[in-house]
Symmetry: C2
Subunit: 432 residues, 2 copies
């Protein structure tokens, strides 16, 4: 007996599965209770098939999804095509055909996950996607199984390897954003259109998915605001360093009295914080909860083997549940109605950097803007740029989103000021 | 309907359970599928009962284990007495009486876990102990459930909060061992007899337990060699810093060709390694595996709430398994025969520090000792102590245990030399 699975797509991640089955077959068989066998692989066309055959792959490649859907011996469909279509249609068809589904597709889960999960639930099928968040880090299953007794208050994640690689180069080696992006593209970390990575879209997908597991809420992607790293300059990096921080792109979820606040933004992290040492393409998820307190889960956020390992863990879990007769259980049983935090509950410290005329009184003018909104500044620095212009850097105390919006609007109305950047600042325990 | 549990002992950890049930009752009930109710609590005597009643606790306190064993409504017994007896007898009796068991008792699991696990297996009962290793970090369940598809090659753990607190003070603030110990005792981290914490015994218990989950091997405690932090001096700390390392007490498991090598010893960790930033009473488990690569799990190693949270997660898992009808499944299904690494397979780099006469030729003499055993030195430093004595510091390249033993013996035979310390050195990827 063996457990027959079908793969949709045979790109980087998918081709990591044969590696695991070869190198770790005994343990996988023992854990799954039977041999896991790749029965059919859906590829695009005959040309791809010829190419894969020439590379020595001897799987049964098919070019029509129907050949998989109609094969009653296949019990699990593993979607590794990526993006929305045709992946979405194939997953829905697979569930309709009674197949369990494993996917690593974060875009799809973040944008259409609820529809698929609901269908899987109605059909009592497994629908797992551990690899969709932080690739190799087993964070979703850990949140679902080990935080059952705990109440999570906040999640901070370094969730995008490409932008973290770039920020590491910018912070540690003083590279510019452009230099870092060129290197990331040369290494194959960033695509030719890097928007999703550098503008925080990919991280926001993962934040939306994490909200299901951390807070039991199926957030809409549009409920996760996101800001990327493309406007970060060497000056921002230098100021951060001078004040004892590193800048990283951080996805953050917090449960406030009124609901959950979810966003992705460049964030000043105190250099003593565990996330400050998460460098290069590594990811980490930092959890604050009433029971455990502070915990962090660190590992590779992408890559062939790590992602394939998470996918295979999902496949094994389905095999076990099939044997136990519990396969209808949801990946994550923690479900509550979505409730979003009010703007007055969205509270953070901020870093702001503003280009101003070099004139006496600029600092006083600026502090007054904050003071008018009831916001204190922890620190204000003035830096001369040339004979005419200066830069003001402000580290604020806590303020809410309404205060932030009012301050930004006030600054934008001052015609001789130019607001360069606004980033969140993570406090240490003492002054936040 | 409610799930009735009994607690054995009502010390620090046990009294964290009511906190969780109160603060997180809805989520726990939802996850467990029913209310979790503390039905009876075993305490030592009537005096303790009077004291607890006076503190406002309104549980049903009992002083005989039989009142719990004979209560057919109680399905889970939670042992939180600690140490070996009477905990061991009580757990065996509870299993004999058909109760599922949860414990946080690392000493007991490391020394007698197999007997208890085998009995639980024969009786198809749950026997869970997530809290026994690294308190609040959900490491055991993660290894059991998420590393099913992966093959672990090595585990490095900062597993003892007390000694890590002390090492942090010694490394970051330059405290002496004695000062650090006094502070740890004053803060209640170290007991009046600190042996188990500072001599690596407690960490070795945890290494023995980790071997079950990482390698499927139920190591005997005696198979885990251990060395503590009590001989570490300010000079060792200073040399480490000078060379770019921090010293921590590290539990290590490695699978070599011939089998598993398990030990606990003070270890030089490169300051860029993720474990180097695990400070104070925090714990972390760093895993190297063929699939994920490098991952790390970080959190509090002890404390009332973190430990109680892990215990409660075990209770919830039993409740779920009872509902699913799968309660006989072992905590960790990965099991292989124990196979220990040969000494020739026990390979590491080492730091050695030796007190020698201040005379020409000492360094050459010493390097010859290493050379005779076929061991190269990466770096040798000589430090003058006074007119008569000097210190030699050696950072070796890789050597095996037989070579190490021969070198130590040779050095001990030189009557004018005194070997002060020998610690493991963790390599970075490039030179290990």
């Amino acid at each position: 007996m063996s457990l027959k699975i079908a793969l949709l797509g045979f790109g980087t991640v998918a081709s990591g599965l044969p590696f695991l089955l070869e190198e770790n077959g005994d343990k996988i068989k023992s854990a799954a209770g039977e041999q896991v066998q790749i029965s059919k692989i859906l590829i695009r066309n005959d040309a791809e098939k010829a190419r894969l055959n020439a590379m020595g792959y001897e799987y049964q490649f098919v070019t029509s999804i129907d050949e998989i859907l109609s094969d009653s011996e296949i019990s699990i469909v593993v979607e590794l095509i990526g993006r929305i279509e045709p992946a979405k249609t194939y997953i829905l068809k697979a569930l309709q055909a009674g197949k369990h589904v494993v996917t690593a597709n974060k875009d799809l889960i973040a944008l259409h996950g609820k529809e698929m999960r609901d269908l899987a639930e109605r059909k009592a099928l497994a629908f797992y996607y551990e690899a969709a968040v932080a690739g190799g880090i087993p964070i979703l299953r850990t949140l679902a199984n080990s935080f059952t007794s705990d109440k999570i208050q906040g999640v901070l994640g370094v969730l995008n390897g490409t932008s973290n690689f770039m920020m590491t180069k910018m912070v540690e080696d003083g590279w510019s954003y452009k230099e870092a992006l060129a290197k990331a593209q040369a290494l194959g970390y960033a695509e030719s259109d890097p928007t999703n990575d550098v503008e925080g879209v990919d991280a926001a997908y993962k934040v939306a998915i994490l909200s299901q597991f951390a807070f039991g809420m199926f957030l809409d992607f549009k409920d996760v605001s996101h800001q990327g790293i493309s406007t970060i300059t060497a000056e921002d990096v230098a100021v951060a360093q001078q004040l004892g921080y590193v800048i990283k792109l951080v996805g953050r979820l917090e449960e406030k009295t009124s609901g959950v606040w979810a966003d992705v933004s460049p964030t000043f992290i105190p250099e003593t914080h565990p996330l400050a040492n998460v460098n290069d393409v590594m990811n980490a998820v930092f959890v604050e909860s009433i029971g455990i307190g502070q915990s962090m889960f660190y590992g590779p956020g992408a890559g062939q083997k790590p992602t394939a390992t998470s996918v295979m863990a999902d496949i094994i879990r389905i095999a076990q549940r099939l044997k136990e007769g519990t396969v209808g259980k949801p990946f994550n049983a923690f479900q509550r109605p979505v409730q979003l935090a009010e703007k007055t509950d969205q509270i953070s410290r901020y870093y702001m950097i503003i280009n101003t005329p070099k004139q006496n009184g600029q600092l006083l003018r600026l502090v007054s803007v904050f003071s008018d909104q009831g916001v204190s500044c922890q620190q204000v620095l003035e830096q001369e740029l040339d004979d005419n212009r200066a830069r003001l850097v402000i580290m604020t105390r806590l303020m809410n989103q309404l205060q932030l919006e009012a301050i930004k609007q006030q600054i934008s109305q001052e015609s001789d000021w130019h607001l360069l950047n606004v980033f969140k600042v993570l406090g240490d325990d003492h002054d936040n």
